[in-house]
Point group: C2
Chain length 447, copies 2
Amino acid sequence: MSDSKRVKRPQLHLTAFMRPVSLHTGAWRYPGAYPDANFNFNHIKSFIQKLEAAKFDAFFMADHLAVLNMPVEALKRSHTVTSFEPFTLLSALSVVTEKIGLAATASTTYDEPYHIARRFASLDHLSNGRAAWNIVTTGNPESAKNFGLEDHVEHSSRYKRAREFYDVVTGLWDSFADDAFIWDQESGVYFDPEKMHVLNHKGDDLKVKGPLNIARPVQGWPVIVQAGQSDPGRQLAAETAEAVFCSPRDLEAAKALYADIKGRAIAVGRDPNHLKILPAAFIVVGDSFEDAQAKRLKLDSLVHYDSAIASLSIALGTDASKYDPDGPLPTDIPETNASKTSQASVIRLAAKEKLTVRQLAQRLGGYSGLAFVGTPESIADEMGTWLAEEGADGFTIALPFLPQGLDDVADRLVPELQRRGLFRKEYEGTTLREHLGLPRPKNRFFE
Amino acid sequence: MSDSKRVKRPQLHLTAFMRPVSLHTGAWRYPGAYPDANFNFNHIKSFIQKLEAAKFDAFFMADHLAVLNMPVEALKRSHTVTSFEPFTLLSALSVVTEKIGLAATASTTYDEPYHIARRFASLDHLSNGRAAWNIVTTGNPESAKNFGLEDHVEHSSRYKRAREFYDVVTGLWDSFADDAFIWDQESGVYFDPEKMHVLNHKGDDLKVKGPLNIARPVQGWPVIVQAGQSDPGRQLAAETAEAVFCSPRDLEAAKALYADIKGRAIAVGRDPNHLKILPAAFIVVGDSFEDAQAKRLKLDSLVHYDSAIASLSIALGTDASKYDPDGPLPTDIPETNASKTSQASVIRLAAKEKLTVRQLAQRLGGYSGLAFVGTPESIADEMGTWLAEEGADGFTIALPFLPQGLDDVADRLVPELQRRGLFRKEYEGTTLREHLGLPRPKNRFFE
């Protein structure tokens, strides 16, 4: 027995929150960007291989089920609404990677649990245990119209169905015991029918007989991810999620959210360590703070003013196109019936960074969530603080532009995190559950 | 100008009709078989790479949406009901191949046109134009129970919805003109909104707004495949299909089917050359006819008698378990209220091949459709005759066992076909449409 056994210090978990050419709407115009990456597998392959070399926990593909979710003036400039479908893309990427997790978004409102259970199980087998399901309920009303409905499904109905959908999908994953398939060529028995369970689910929203036509996933269940921040969203996460993608605006908000969701998990009898809180963070790395900020302003400047100004008008609750684009934000913004929080935070942002109306609009039209902009050292400081103060168990990183913004993170930020012991230098396991420190779920129907 | 231009002789098209360890229920027990291939990507990868080296047109993954489609005594011995899901598998296979087509089965009864259009478009982009959609209406009543229904959807309702579903899916594929995405980094215009079409479909069974959130597929539309042989199935094929998988029992039946479907296509104004008839054929290659027949009998002998005898009883319309398994089929089979055709053809088969009751049962429990069993030369003769006499434009080959049965076809039969000029020696194009000699569909909304 060695006496060197000691409690491991907590480390960050890092996932990449991807659209093929970044979530930032100006990114496809950034110098060196691949504007065709949405439909160019080789580019996406190079991105994920870079992330795997940097030992990221997972590659997370964001998704939409509709095109028409913005005015045509903005739409025609957007690279974020068209791309590969997640299951087909991630399955292809499973072949060109070995360790990194593969997280796909799938809707509980506009799909069937048998299909969803089957595709994630299949992806988990193909990838030898690297699949994760980001459960979304799809709020965008344009999506409803692509699936036979005139109006979007009401919020509480969506969450009620989502909870039942989760029970059905996980029940289908448990259709076969882990050792059901015996492949005994001599006796001719392919699987043991005593180790197959017929679900026979009959609930309020769903009726599904089962069993699933696929062996139990390598991970038992693919990792469950959730992103909702509403009250029902937090409750669903506390009851079901193993990783939460969230968008707190600062550390104080993150700590409150972290405590709330972990508290809810404890209240339903779960180990809070088995639920990782991973706030989305937009990362811009530079040689100095000024250099990083200049990169960000350059990126923002690539958001076309016509589409940017609409975002600012919505956030302010007043038509911002009447203001001088190159002047400061006027001080006499009228009170709004829309979100006062949103208006106040935009006014604060303009003052803090001394942004012109144009820059402010471009920030909102580009990416306006939590951002770490600075040197590898300063960003590592911030991330370490969030980890130590229980604002985060890691981050869902939004890369500003590709490939350069990814290279900056992988080649500069990650080594700094590793030097400080805040991030792994090598994968220690092979499955996404192992990367995230999550247990393999027991089969509810078999020992 | 050269005077060597001449009309090209027709050649066969060959696709492989796959379950990961063959369609034959005894195949997983055959010497050298990989019984775990259903969930072993590397085995399937080796199969498709072998097929591509043999210049096959396409790899076609058969599919089911339910497990419980046979009694448990047969089910526990069956490798045909559990495997990877087709889209995830074919997407992964697209990365390890370059030319061979990738055909997936997808149901119009238990899925949504937006999802289906999107996944095939995505697979077509990932594979650079190699996707095909096998349209099925899913008759198995067990499938209905996995999708919220108590009973299966009635035949004519399924076909009515399938026809409308096809219109919606192809309409969604035409959402963008081929040149809609201009990626102009300078002006900041990502795509031309004048080249985007909103479908706004409102039909009897489906309401879908569109547009699809993916660029037009590389092939315009993935290749449309159909397998129904009922009257509505043939009509759907004539109106929509570009390749037909069918199961005629002999050349005479094949010629009638070929003439009927091509005639229906002409009647609706289509070029009959743009609809390829590809009967399913089970191929066993040997050094001699006796050697091939011995392989087949050995394979059949691996079908367990308990599950085989049920197939024979059904086909005869009487309990066959009372007969001596090792004797000949008795001559006093009672008349049946079930299918007289089926009973007669089984009695004919037993007499022709001098099969015992056991062998007959195992044939029916294994694979009892059209088979070419013989030497490379004799099989090439048969295939050539079917092509010349317009019974087939090629074949959907069911491999008897893997990997050996595939190696026999790829290394022995294909070279014989090539020597005779009946099959390509090299791929001449890069897309599945080019392999099959099919035109790229025009976009119905744009020039």
